[in-house]
Amino acid sequence: MNISEIKKEFPIFNNKVHNNDLVYLDSANSSQKPQVVVDRIYDFYTKEFSNVGRSVHYLAVAATNLYENTRSSVQKYLNAKNKNEIVFTKGATEAMNLVASTFGQKYLKEGDEVLITELEHHSNYVPWHYLRKSKGIKIVFAEIDQNGEVTLDEINKKITSKTKIIGVTHLSNVTGAILPIKEITQLAHSKKIPVLVDGCQGAPHLKLDMQDLDCDFYAISCHKMYGPTGLGVLYAKKKWLEDLPPYQGGGGMINEVKKEGITYGELPNKYEAGTMATAQVIAFDQSIKFLEKIGIENIIKHEKELIDYGQEILRKNNSVKLIGNPKNRGAVLSFTIEGIHPHDIATILDEDGVAIRAGHHCCQILHDKLGLPATARASFGIYNNKNDIDQLNSSINKCKKIFNLK
């Protein structure tokens, strides 16, 4: 598949936005969907729909097989050791809540420390905050350096004898910093501390190998991987899924239910209570196939070119200040313009069909640290090209003109 032709696979780009071609630079928020994924949802509902894992009729058996096929595809894509290490959730947020809640319930007590970083999205902070409230645990923040990165050294400094789990992002959705997960995991494991990785931004843009990273938990947002909304994946090492208590109770997750007591189902059913996002899971198989067809190496190469070009162009624009300067930057360029608030930038860019995000991007801790109430963010996907960056730059110049900046 030729990467320059990839945009054609995404029907959204057939539409105009305010009479302009869409320049979609908000993939860190959510990616657009290729036709194969959209079609798969339609086909499943029109020709193959049934609930999974319960009934024995023809449709139920077929749907269950499709559902489990996706689990196998995800296992393969992540290079997880075991199929049962893949748990479907309603999103990465739920995946991280699942870990915080179940790990917290079993292993955290007053005074214990959870080490996270200042780069974390609210979904890898707020769930721990609940435990701070309910159990009196302490949340420790590894700090960013002047480049907007969190170094292995900084993590090492913040580990104490009370650190019980480490939660880190793979790729910051604001500074674009790619964190050294493998090294962090090695360090943590040498001190017998498990590691939860927020893989929301990592999963669509980086090569994933769970056995190589060796992290204990990895949370994925499927809608950021050219897949459907309402779906996430929690990869967790089998030993944890066997050891930790269930998260939600209900149908599908039980073994035997008596008035006197309940036993829980086998993995991964234990963590998939209730009717799951069946159509989304089945369609997500197409997202994985789509990514595999392009090849992650090609995606990384393409996005690296975009990031390098984007940095080059925006650095030349004298009013633009890029946020962070990480050595390894993922597909995110956050910026500010002196004299124009990010929300005004976003509104003016939108008029040209350029979709960016403005705000704190669910990272208020980081924005407080940077001393900024908000930033503008352009983030890339496989459908972007250098023309999109040129359009971004020319629309930024239009902002400057409207605000009478030089």
Partner: protein
Amino acid sequence: MNLKELYQEIILDHGKNPHNLKKINNYNKDAKGHNPLCGDKVHLYLKLDDKKKIEDISFEGSGCAISMASASIMTDILKNKNESEVKELIRDFFEMIKEKPDLSTKILKEDEKTKLMCLSGVKQYPMRVKCATLSWHTLLSAIDNKQEEVNTEN
């Protein structure tokens, strides 16, 4: 949609150099407002006299051009208005920002009205309406002595 209508010179001027951006002495009412989606923040200070007339009004805060201009223009035109006039104006302003083409108030002088109506273009940008209304919601909260911070998402 028309960007020129949204970002008129008067909005840009007030946004860049907001009037009454300070904390007044001897205020007897105040309230805070926050737009969690944008990060816009405002702290409004009011000094009402015995007859509930606004003797002085000011604000502190940060935000986009629309929210700063709205707070700046609001504090400019509300001086010497009494509480019932202010409440009527708030209602009128909310209607203009959301649907009506202009203000129906007879309280404002023609030049004050023209200034405030510059914000009317915001209604074409639904995501930005909250920027324009934040300081006005905060004003209402100050007048009504509400204790909790105004939050545009609640």
